[in-house]
């Protein structure tokens, strides 16, 4: 009964989405205030009905209602309760319902929080979001209905959630990622609404900035969680594979990062307006492209769900409508000139332009590498995949240049900076970075490594230029007592940039210094790797809630040290299906290095195939990702957003570019 209720609530939600798309639009066009006013209530109503629908589906999972086909194929009575709940989005249909829920959530957040918007503007934004929602409602109802029943043959037991998804990382990763992906629909809706009204002014940029920051924050954290999950759960110590689906989340992130920075220029200086609008359209289109790539399964990916061509064509058609429609509107309405304000090549505008060019070029290389297999296959030239070396080859130089620009950018003033002043500010950081780069490889390993020196130098450059910027600010504002008055947007920028330094250093150093070995080990065997002695103590049988496992116990100690670390790696066999085997790595985490052991297969005579890793600095990747998210969060707490409830003539604080 409640399953049909959920289905019915979903259909009602669709009706409300349709109304939300049309009524405010007609209201704006005809000047009917009561119609435009209804937008907020419609958005909230849609959210309530989708929430009911989602709750019904979650209930079906929690009580093991295997008459629902989705539950039967993705859950199991043995599954712990929290995984039954996360199983709701551990499959295609449920995750699309989550997508709808989050979209409606963002809509109602706009309805409730964006009080500084004019009523017409709010109606336009919510109408655009309603149109997006209509598209996804149709998608769910016609191609991916989660409420389908399997009467009369109700199975006694479910097929189980993929064991890889039975993990805390995967409980949180999809919702975070979706909050990010879908959050960019708000920025998109603002851009379309601005084009539609013909007023692409700084107020528009000011309104969309916090929403973009929020979406970007969630996406950063979501990607970080995904990488962390892949690292410990896939069992083989990789943290990024340049897999099409990873790229699908990374491209909106790159474009969104560019958007975040170009919005700053548009808000502060009224420049780059057309470009910013274009970026807003691009970012959301890339989110949709990501959805298409994941849902259609046309690319070989580790993430692919079983595929259905109808879904792929639907999302592709929807993508076509969104991109085509918004670009047409853009062509008709984009502002022709960027206004009178000019800027010199030594200004913050120029640095942010550099940021945008580099990020978009990076995004384009990822896009090319991701879509090349599709193009080649469409031209009937064979089936290809693009190897990680391509992406690495592109990213190392691009990110290095980006890091250099990123150091200088925050030190520059709007409009024009004096070359002399800049030189004065940069002497210290340049010296510090050179010294750090030259010393680091020797201190860390005792011998020279060019790549490591370069990385350490760049990281030192980012940190020291941030410090120089802080000193400059304090000097201008009257010394250390100005510290609490710098504003959380400034600190958000600092924290996020430090996060980038951590990510970059982590990615480069772990690639340079990591070491791994596959060995055949019997109980009592030892293997030495990068100065650590790993001993295999043997395996014993353990029983989990819904699996049994062979647990391999290992110890590791640093050569010449007596401190012994214990690592437990498991090979799990899930009860729900024969041969549903999974590797659970044994990890000894650390700030400077991880030790990582995974059990391969038993190979006769009591010995096991074992992989041991030494992974220096790998944790910096996720520390960096979390710091970037934290930077976004700090920015959202800036005074100007809290004061935004006041009349629209809020003086713009001289905050930093976040």
């Amino acid at each position: 009964m409640y399953v049909e209720l959920g289905h019915f609530a979903l259909i009602l939600g669709f009706g409300l989405a349709l109304t939300q798309a049309l009524l405010p639009m007609l209201g704006v066009m005809r000047g009917l205030r009561s119609w435009t006013q209804a937008a907020g209530a419609l958005a909230c109503g849609q959210f309530v009905f989708i929430a009911i629908s989602f709750a019904c589906l979650a209930h079906a999972f929690l009580i093991d209602d295997f008459s629902v086909r989705l539950v039967a194929t993705n859950s199991n009575t043995l599954l712990p309760a929290w995984y039954k709940f996360s199983a709701v989005w551990g499959n295609h249909e449920g995750s699309m319902l989550l997508w709808l829920l989050i979209l409606a959530g963002w809509s109602s957040a706009v309805a409730v929080l964006a009080t500084e918007l004019t009523q017409d503007m709010r109606a336009r934004v919510l109408s655009v979001m309603g149109m997006i929602a209509v598209g996804f409602h149709l998608f769910v109802l016609f191609t991916s209905n989660p409420f389908l029943r399997s009467f009369p043959n109700v199975p006694q037991e479910g097929r189980d959630l993929n064991p890889l998804l039975q993990d805390i990382g995967l409980v949180m990763h999809p919702p975070m990622l979706y909050l990010g992906y879908v959050g960019f629909s708000v920025t998109f809706a603002f851009a379309i609404a601005a084009l539609w009204s013909g007023r692409l002014d700084t107020a528009w940029a000011r309104w969309s900035r916090p929403w973009t920051t929020a979406a970007w924050m969630f996406l950063s954290v979501g990607i970080t969680l995904g990488s962390w999950w892949a690292y410990y759960e896939l069992g083989w110590g990789g943290w990024w594979f340049w897999d099409p689906v990873e790229n699908a989340s990374f491209m909106p992130w790159l474009a969104g990062t560019a958007l975040l920075h170009s919005l700053a220029v548009t808000e502060k200086r009224g420049l780059f307006r057309s470009w910013t609008v274009l970026l807003a359209i691009l970012t959301f289109s890339l989110s949709l492209l990501g959805t298409f790539l994941v849902r259609s399964g046309i690319l070989t990916s580790v993430h692919a769900f079983a595929t259905d061509p109808a879904r792929g064509s639907f999302v592709l058609a929807f993508l076509g409508v969104v991109v085509g429609g918004s670009l047409t509107l853009y062509a008709l309405r984009a502002p022709q000139s960027s206004g009178p304000a000019g800027y010199s090549w030594l200004s913050r505008e120029a640095a942010l332009l550099g940021n945008n060019v580099l990020l978009i070029v990076s995004m384009a290389t990822v896009l090319l590498g991701t879509l090349a297999p599709l193009l080649v296959s469409a031209l009937d030239m064979g089936r290809i995949s693009v190897g990680p070396p391509y992406f690495n080859l592109m990213f190392v130089p691009l990110m290095s240049v980006l890091a250099v620009v990123m150091g200088v950018g925050p030190l520059l003033r709007w409009r024009e900076s004096s070359a002399g002043g800049l030189r004065g500010l940069l002497v210290g950081p340049i010296g510090f970075s050179l010294a750090a780069g030259l010393i680091f490889p020797f201190v860390y390993r005792g011998h020279w490594h060019g790549g490591a020196a370069f990385t350490a130098g760049l990281a030192a450059w980012l940190l020291s230029t941030l410090f120089a910027g802080l000193r400059q600010r304090l000097r201008e504002r009257g010394g250390v007592q100005a510290l609490p008055r710098l504003g959380s947007a400034y600190w958000g920028m600092v924290v996020a940039h430090i996060g980038f330094a951590f990510c970059m250093a982590g990615a480069a150093l772990t690639s340079i210094y990591s070491d791994e070995r596959d060995v055949r080990m019997s109980a009592g065997d030892e293997v030495t790797l990068s100065g650590y002695v790993f001993s295999f103590l043997g395996t014993r049988h353990v029983e989990g809630p819904n699996y049994s496992a062979e647990r391999g116990e290992f110890t590791a100690r640093s050569e010449g040290s007596t401190r012994v670390l214990h690592l437990k790696a498991e090979k799990r066999d899930y009860h729900s299906q024969m041969g549903n085997v999974m590797t659970e790595a044994g990890i000894s985490p650390g700030f400077l290095r991880d030790l990582y052991v995974s059990l391969g297969e038993p190979i006769g005579d009591g010995s096991w195939a074992v992989r041991v890793h030494h992974k220096p600095f790998v944790r910096w990747l996720w520390i960096g990702g979390v710091l970037m998210g934290a930077g976004g969060l700090l920015t959202l707490f800036d005074r100007r957003y809290r004061r935004a409830r006041a009349p629209a003539s809020v003086p713009v604080t001289a905050g930093a570019v976040a």
Partner: protein, 155 residues
């Protein structure tokens, strides 16, 4: 030439040269790292190059997995129901690797006709079939040749 025009011309020339240099580099990097997929039948037919990273795939022939006495060397055969290919690998096989199931291997074809895999991939989802493998198997089916097993996995 007018100085402003001259300056513009220089800028445009700079952009054109820069963009084409970048594009050339990108496309070279891309073409160097494109890994083509070959089905066992294509390899048997001599279509695949040696000494270059390629991908092969198909179903693992039941009973074909052989391990070395010591160390982690192993070998197995993959089939597309038309031809079989011997794959050598040293290391740890993925959890979802099993005989009769789909697999993709990345590596190089050796002059003797054996495939030396650097990486063996089986997918997260036990029902998922890599599109290339699926296509190769479909071709195998339509060729109407005797199936060597694992046919029920073809969806």
């Amino acid at each position: 030439m007018h100085p402003v025009r001259r300056q513009r011309l220089i800028i445009v020339a700079f952009i054109v040269v820069g963009a084409s240099a970048a594009a050339t580099l990108i496309f070279r990097a891309l073409s160097d790292n494109m890994n083509f997929f070959y089905a066992p039948a294509q390899i048997a037919g001599g279509e695949a190059p040696t000494g270059r990273t390629i991908r092969v795939g198909g179903l693992v022939v039941p009973g074909s997995l052989k391990r070395a006495e010591s160390g982690l060397d192993l070998a197995f055969r993959v089939t597309d129901n038309r031809a079989e290919l011997e794959v050598d690998f040293r290391g740890i096989l993925p959890d979802l690797f099993s005989e009769g199931k789909g697999v993709v291997a990345v590596g190089e074809l050796m002059p003797g006709g054996r495939f030396k895999a650097a990486e063996v991939l089986a997918k997260h989802d036990e029902n998922y079939m890599p599109p290339e493998v699926h296509e190769a198997l479909k071709k195998g089916e339509t060729a109407g040749l005797a199936a060597t097993g694992g046919d029920d996995d073809v969806r």
